[in-house]
């Protein structure tokens, strides 16, 4: 049922040329060079330290690594990270068949 719903979503998104983050509930990450990262549509903060920030999203979690990280601003589904970013890694949850 869940899988079927998702397929419909993907199809609708593609058909109407809608931005995929809206359609698929995936996080949108905007970075400015390596000093800022703006993450929208995450579902939870899992870990915060000055070297790594881990965020949950619908299909898994992602990890942003860097140095002297700080959260400049935090809202319900938005996060603005500041610092020196090194990498952004995604760990899709295999159970949900994440994208």
């Amino acid at each position: 049922m869940v899988k079927w719903q998702q397929q419909i979503r993907t199809w609708v998104g593609r058909y109407f040329d809608l931005p995929s983050d809206v359609m698929l509930d995936l996080p949108r990450i905007t970075t400015i060079g390596s000093i800022h990262a703006y993450i929208e549509n995450h579902t939870g903060l899992l870990l915060f330290s000055d070297r790594e920030v881990r965020l949950k999203y619908r299909d898994g979690h992602l990890s942003i690594k860097g140095k002297s990280l700080r959260i400049k601003m935090m809202l319900k589904e938005e996060l603005l990270l500041e610092g020196t970013l090194d990498s952004i890694e995604f760990y899709p949850d295999p159970k949900k068949g994440g994208k």
């Binding site: 903060l45 915060f48 601003m73 935090m74 809202l75 319900k76």
Partner: protein, 403 residues
């Protein structure tokens, strides 16, 4: 930026959060609608962050559940400023007093200027204004409107033709025009013009009435110069004048300039001392209490010679009480003795002329003088002088009509 300023208005709190489940706590708080900024890790299990004051309840509610400890490090924003101000009662009181004083001073009438009126009328207007409560030093709150004042003034001061009342900041500016009063009684009383002293008539201008004398005629005191009776003599009534004017007696008016004479006796001392100062002065100040005088400044000037000393005292009042302290100022003018080398006779004439002019009318002119007699006795010069003066000798003399 706009958001930051708005936050400043509502108040921001920088807190230190300690606990194991910090991330979950933050997540929970943001889900409730909290707005978190500047999260910085200080150590393991401890972060610093800035939150809005109005979200404070959310944190308080959730901190137990996530077993976090919150410490407030710093407070920013208007609510805290106000709080701190309220704590300093004296400062607050002074501030309020200052605002109150400013308000009072701004609403005080500082000056009333009246223009365009002669001094007597100005005084009347001033006293009227006082009765309306419009005086210097009064509060303008509750004071009558300028238009109202204008209306009242025009009603109460009958001599005013028009008055403009304008309020300019803390001053009232009034501009008035006086009524030129027309002589109220048109039916004038019958009167003649008579000579007030003896003299030779030099110029005549009778505006009303019939002249009875001519130029270069000598008149004695009391001589009728012009009569208000338009017709000549009662016995010759209605001889050559028209019937309408017969018997009509009006008030004669006019000017009769005549040459008159004044005798003056004057004594001028032989030796005269004239002391001149050139305006340069040196002052000595001293403060006096009772009979004691304490010099404070300029005492070194006091022992100079040949000076004219003027002493003035200044006293102070405090709420109607005279203070015992007074300031004494001694002004010393350096002076020079001058021996005037003038003609005694000329001096006497000048002095006598000055005296005479004070006695005479403003329009009178002294046209000549003559030394009748000059005699020296006891170191004085005695002069008898004769002055020729051109002046108006006409005075109105009312006639009571018998019939």
């Amino acid at each position: 930026m706009a958001r930051n300023q708005l936050d400043f208005l509502y108040g921001l709190v920088t807190v230190r959060v300690k606990g194991v489940l910090i991330e979950a706590f933050l997540q929970a708080c943001t889900r409730e609608g909290a707005y978190i900024t500047n999260v910085k890790q200080v150590s393991d299990k401890e972060v610093h962050m800035t939150i809005r004051l109005k979200d404070w309840v959310i944190y308080r509610r959730l901190r137990k559940k996530y077993r976090c400890k919150i410490h407030i490090i710093a407070r920013h924003g208007i609510p805290f400023l106000i709080h701190r101000l309220l704590a300093k009662k004296a400062v607050l009181a002074a501030f309020l007093c200052g605002i109150g004083a400013l308000f009072l001073l701004a609403n005080t009438l500082w000056s009333v200027q009246i223009k365009g009126l002669p001094p007597e009328l100005e005084a009347t207007v001033e006293s009227q204004l006082e009765s309306y409560g419009v005086t210097e030093g009064k509060l303008t709150i509750g004071m009558k409107d300028p238009n109202e004042v204008q209306r009242l003034l025009l009603e109460d001061v009958p001599d005013l033709l028009w008055i403009g009342v304008k309020k300019k900041g803390t001053s009232y500016q009034l501009y008035g025009v006086m009524k030129t009063r027309q002589d109220p009684d048109e039916t004038t009383r019958p009167a003649d013009l008579v000579a007030s002293k003896k003299g030779i008539i030099k110029k005549m201008f009778i505006t009303k009435g019939r002249p009875l004398v001519s130029v270069n005629q000598f008149v004695k005191k009391g001589t009728v110069l012009a009569t208000g009776k338009l017709k000549e003599g009662t016995s010759e009534a209605a001889k050559d004048e028209s019937e309408e004017d017969s018997g009509k007696y009006i008030e004669a008016e006019g000017e009769v300039i005549a040459e008159t004479w004044y005798r003056a006796e004057i004594q001028v001392p032989e030796d005269q001392q004239l002391q001149l100062t050139d305006g340069e002065k040196s002052s000595a100040y001293s403060v006096g209490i009772g009979s004691i005088n304490i010099p404070i400044w300029g005492w070194w000037n006091t022992d100079e010679e040949n000076v004219r000393v003027e002493t003035s005292q200044k006293k102070w009042d405090l709420f109607g009480w005279e203070l015992p302290i007074r300031l004494e100022v001694k002004d010393m003018y350096a002076q020079e003795d001058v021996q005037p080398e003038n003609d005694r006779v000329k001096q006497g004439i000048v002095a006598a002329k000055r005296d005479l002019k004070q006695k005479l009318d403003e329009e009178a002119k002294v046209i000549g003088e003559k030394v009748l007699h000059e005699r020296e006795e006891n170191g004085k010069v005695k002069l008898i002088l004769l002055f020729k003066v051109h002046e108006n000798i006409a005075v109105t003399k009312y006639v009571t009509q018998g019939d």
